[in-house]
Assembly symmetry: C2
Homo-oligomer: 336 residues x 2
DNA sequence: CTGAAAGCGCTAACAA
DNA sequence: TTGTTAGCGCTTTCAG
């Protein structure tokens, strides 16, 4: 650990630690001359204050936690960028935790936060998360929490999401307009808020356009790629397979393309595909992919900003804040 | 911040804080019965020890820093996964910092580490980094540093890389074997270790196969997408444009595909393309992309393991450890 | 304008 | 087996 302490500075300068401490935070009760001398020595000795001593004393860590299901997904990568940008700007540090879509891991990560390790939390819940006690627990301790993208409805706090319902509707409607008669929605969870909202939008579009929801209208995928491959292959092997697919998350797209390739199905002739995705390579896929793109960076940024507001204004309590940033439809060849 | 402290526990149980502290770490000098009572109350009150108090006292933070150029790149996303997996396993926390390829940002981030905020550092340097004083400075303070992927040669410490020279050679040779007569290497920096090693491998392959290095044999790209687009477009607009391209990093691939599309150049007929990339969508690009894939997850894992070794064994000093994990060539249609 | 002193919550030597 | 004590480095009253 570091060696230069405030005590050493004080000793060298024949000042008290209190005076040095005040000089360091540019207190008005310290003379210009003293401040100058202090800063000079600080530069000379390369002094950097011990953050843990100060955290202990001030009961603030200037650190936030970002809890994510995973990071190998363009959405979360972009969101981290947005979060980190705001944090760096505000002088905060960012601890990152991955749940790998595992609820009990999420619980134990959250439990640690009761220690006061972080001043605030940004979280996108795991696909397994169906209740939010572990989150309420830390809130009770006065630690603000902001959800982004994947929220937990029952927890009352700020949420930054995108217009999932409308996007599901738009996706389905786009396929309908392009002539699809039988559209399947590939879900990733029957409990996750975003998956369900997107699905509801999809259902509404079907109803509005007098299309019945077939039994294989929704296929639930998992965290296991091999399983998903088989489920989708199974679906598409059928003689009257769907002629339209909506992938609710990015990673399912690649599986869909593989299945179609392996079954010799042409996209978009045999089946049209649209995906919720932030893949920067969507445009150069074979065929180029029609996407619903979420404003990932902006969502991260907005969530972080909300959190820092709560952190910096006293008596600022996060309640029902609900920021909804719109996704956009990018029409490409996979739905031609 | 948290409210239950060790003092409160001690008070409730009519014990001294020292005893409770020892009971919590399962010290042999505490009776079974006392330990039981302590744990009971711990569970009841949901006590979690204050990490900052303990860090201050023990001069250890159980936290490492991961410093990256960016995160919206499959390589770094996968590497974070590897790092986080090891850290979570060892009970360490992970602070993440992005330099956005900016050297002075990297410096100020490193400077903060002199405070003792972290016990160790994993870093992949920015493209602008040409010297390592800021890194040596923290090392001098006894904080171990492990480089991964993008190293700083002059700093003596452990490094985890992939076989960049050989990969550059393999990439060029692959294009030569496939009949390319004029191959251009798209670099991202003339100082970055990985970019140069890959380039040297490329040059060696040309020499070995009696091909001369043309003036436009290497094109230096930047961090600016528009600039890169123009540079590559310029290169490819020429009548005798190269018939083979090596993209030294993932993000350049997408630009290359766009340029070719805009200039109506067919890949691989008019120009063959190979890229250093971890894109999971490489297989479903149009055309599917031949890649040199780095073992990103494994590199993150290896770097983290090395660091934790240094952290946990006393008197363990990182010196010339040099782990080289091989990349693999995946031949696909873009070089057919 | 500067100094003295208490204490944030925890650990670890030493005493009992 | 348990208790006492002295800090880790810093902030912040309160006095001078």
């Amino acid at each position: 650990m570091a060696n230069t302490t405030i005590k050493k500075l004080a000793h060298e300068l024949n000042l008290s630690v209190g005076t040095v401490s005040k000089a360091l935070k540019d207190s008005h009760e310290i003379s210009i001359e003293t401040k100058r001398k202090v800063h000079e020595l600080v530069n000379k000795l390369n002094y950097v204050p011990n953050p843990y001593a100060s955290s202990l004393r001030k009961r603030k860590s200037k650190t936030i936690a970002v809890v994510l299901p995973e990071v190998a997904d363009s959405f979360f990568s972009l969101a981290i960028n947005g979060i980190e940008a705001v944090a760096q700007d505000k002088g905060y540090h960012v601890l990152i935790y991955l749940t790998h879509e595992n609820f009990s891991k999420e619980q134990s990560i959250l439990k640690d936060f009761k220690s006061g390790r972080v001043d605030g939390i940004l979280i996108s819940v795991s696909r397994e998360t169906t209740q939010g006690n572990h989150i309420c627990d830390v809130q009770t301790l006065g630690i603000p929490v902001v959800f982004f993208d994947r929220v937990c409805d029952e927890v009352e706090t700020a949420k930054v999401t995108t217009n999932d319902f409308e996007s599901g509707y738009v996706a389905a409607k786009h396929l309908i307009v392009r002539g699809c008669k039988q559209i399947t929605y590939l879900s990733i969870s029957n409990t996750l808020s975003i998956a369900n909202k997107r699905m509801e939008g999809y259902c509404k579009a079907l109803t509005d356009h007098r299309m019945e929801t077939k039994e294989n209208g929704v296929v639930f995928c998992t965290n296991n790629e091999a399983y998903n491959y088989n489920a989708i292959k199974n679906l598409m092997s059928n003689k009257d397979h769907p002629d339209g697919l909506i992938a609710s998350v990015e990673k399912l797209t690649i599986t869909v393309y593989h299945v179609c390739n392996d079954l010799n199905l042409q996209i978009p002739q045999d089946v049209k595909v649209i995906s919720f995705s932030n893949l920067s390579s969507a445009l150069i896929l074979n065929p180029s992919l029609t996407t619903i793109t979420q404003p990932a960076f902006e969502m991260g940024e907005a969530a972080a900003s909300l959190l820092f507001n709560a952190l910096e204004k006293r008596n600022f309590i996060l309640k029902g804040e609900n920021i909804i940033l719109p996704s956009v439809l990018n029409i490409r060849n996979s739905t031609k």
